[in-house]
């Protein structure tokens, strides 16, 4: 009996700011959408996030950042995943990201940026449609 493949998402907070309310809200919304959410909490380095993402074999990594360091942190996560042969893992981000940074982040391989005020349903649909699509 092949059971339905569960979507697994890692939700993490890179950087030094201590606000994880947004991350927790999205983690709960994902759970309510039927996903398995691995929540790793605050102050994660890109290395820690990528290592966890690989051990947990997630389809997607969602990172939120309020500290302004997203231009370093998000691309670094994508880069590390690539280096470890895990470029099939979808990376998306949220938080306070200025509009002008979004195209650059996309170029760096971040699949989507959800700015504050985006309904959680949009992120859920995004993950559901894209999760595992490129899975190797």
């Amino acid at each position: 009996m092949v059971e339905e493949r569960k979507i697994r998402v890692l939700v993490a907070k890179p950087g030094l700011d201590g606000h994880d309310r947004g991350a927790k809200v999205i983690a709960r919304a994902f759970r309510d959408a039927g996903f398995e959410v691995i929540y790793t909490g605050l102050r994660q380095t890109p290395e820690m996030i990528v290592s966890a993402a690989i051990q947990e074999d997630v389809d997607a990594v969602g990172v939120s950042c309020l500290s302004g360091a997203h231009m370093y942190l998000f691309p670094r996560i994508v880069q590390l995943l690539r280096e470890r042969g895990a470029d099939d893992v979808l990376v998306f981000g949220g938080g306070t990201i200025p509009d002008e940074d979004i195209p650059k982040l996309r170029e760096a391989g971040i699949a989507e940026i959800f700015t504050p005020g985006t309904p959680t349903s949009v992120a859920i649909d995004f993950v559901r449609n894209r999760a595992g699509r490129d899975r190797k």
Binding site: E3, R5, R31, E36, Y39, Q44, M48, I54, D57
Partner: protein, 312 residues
């Protein structure tokens, strides 16, 4: 290279992917598990169970640190419950263990129960086998936060640790039911809180009332996991139990019990599945259920009839 060879070589991606295949019930998983089985049986398996929030994850993290100090490689399986309403889960045990995420000697996997009862996920045993075959020397299994009957972890673990905390009040009565018998080691965590000594005394009193075990008297350790207090002693307690198991030949006995349980479980699952698949294909299942529902047939005779037709 086959996925099982890559797992044996300690390839993290392969381990992680195989675990997903197992969890999702994919057929490739079974063939890989067949190939890995001969290489299992090396790891020492420690189960950690206890009420929600008692500090299981924090203790697992600290014990991992302590065993790493002695060079042992570690596998961790941390189980959290699946929401029965949505099928989703938040797996948060890992938060307390993330400092080990960059240590190549530690592999951590979070699992959701996916409807399985007993405090573990259905695939836990198989996942432990993957970690074992990959060469992890000590494997910790953190169960979901449980109260009483969810003691399935004893079937997998060599050493079962039951964690409790001061001030649970009457709950200590509640944990006594199934859990008292399974504990090889008791931990009273959060010993920084008032009442730790009272909890220890209560545990001792309950053990005195219990059936008692001739071969091993479960020690009680007081810990403050967040302060790293009592961890060295607890780790030594685990090693002492391991030594006891080897000496008394109990470990082999447990291995046999584990194999027994595993075989029965698999057999049950496979037999049921095959019978049902066949019965569903030729319509017998539907007809039989219809007849039972209409009281044309009682369920007891229905099963007899069903099994007879299947050649049993």
């Amino acid at each position: 290279m086959e996925i099982s060879d890559r797992v044996r070589a300690g390839d993290v991606r392969a381990m992680a992917r195989l675990i997903s295949l197992i969890e999702n019930g994919f057929p490739e998983a079974t063939s890989a598990l067949k190939g890995l089985y001969p290489f299992t049986g090396q790891a020492f398996i420690v189960g950690i169970t206890g009420p929600p929030g008692s500090g299981k994850s924090t203790l697992t993290d600290q014990l991992t640190q302590e065993f790493r100090r002695h060079g042992r490689t570690i596998g961790i399986v941390a189980v959290d419950p699946t929401s029965p309403f949505t099928g989703g889960a938040i797996l948060a045990d890992r938060i307390r263990m993330q400092r080990h995420s960059l240590d190549g000697g530690v592999f951590i996997r979070s699992m959701a129960t996916r409807g399985h009862l007993g405090g573990l996920a259905k695939a836990t045993n198989d996942v432990v086998n993957v970690l074992d075959a990959a060469g992890k020397e000590v494997i910790f299994i953190e169960t979901v936060g449980v109260g009483q009957d969810e003691v399935e972890v004893v079937k997998t673990a060599h050493t079962s640790i039951v964690v409790t905390v001061p001030g649970l009040g009457d709950d200590i009565q509640a944990i006594k039911a199934g859990i008292l018998e399974i504990a090889d080691i008791f931990v009273v965590n959060k010993a920084d809180r008032e009442g730790a000594d009272k909890t220890v005394a209560e545990l001792k009193a309950m053990m005195a009332l219990g059936p008692g075990r001739s071969d091993w008297s479960p020690p009680i350790f007081k810990t403050v996991a967040i302060e790293e207090e009592g961890i060295v002693e607890l780790a030594q307690g685990i090693l002492a139990h391991q030594a006891h198991l080897d000496q008394a030949g109990v470990r082999q006995e447990r291995q046999r019990e584990r194999s027994h349980a595993l075989f029965l479980e698999l057999l049950q699952e496979r037999v049921t599945r095959r019978l049902l698949e066949r019965a569903a294909a030729n319509g017998i299942l539907e007809q039989t259920i219809e007849r039972i529902a209409h009281r044309d047939l009682d369920p007891y005779s229905a099963v007899d009839e069903f099994l007879e037709k299947a050649g049993f």
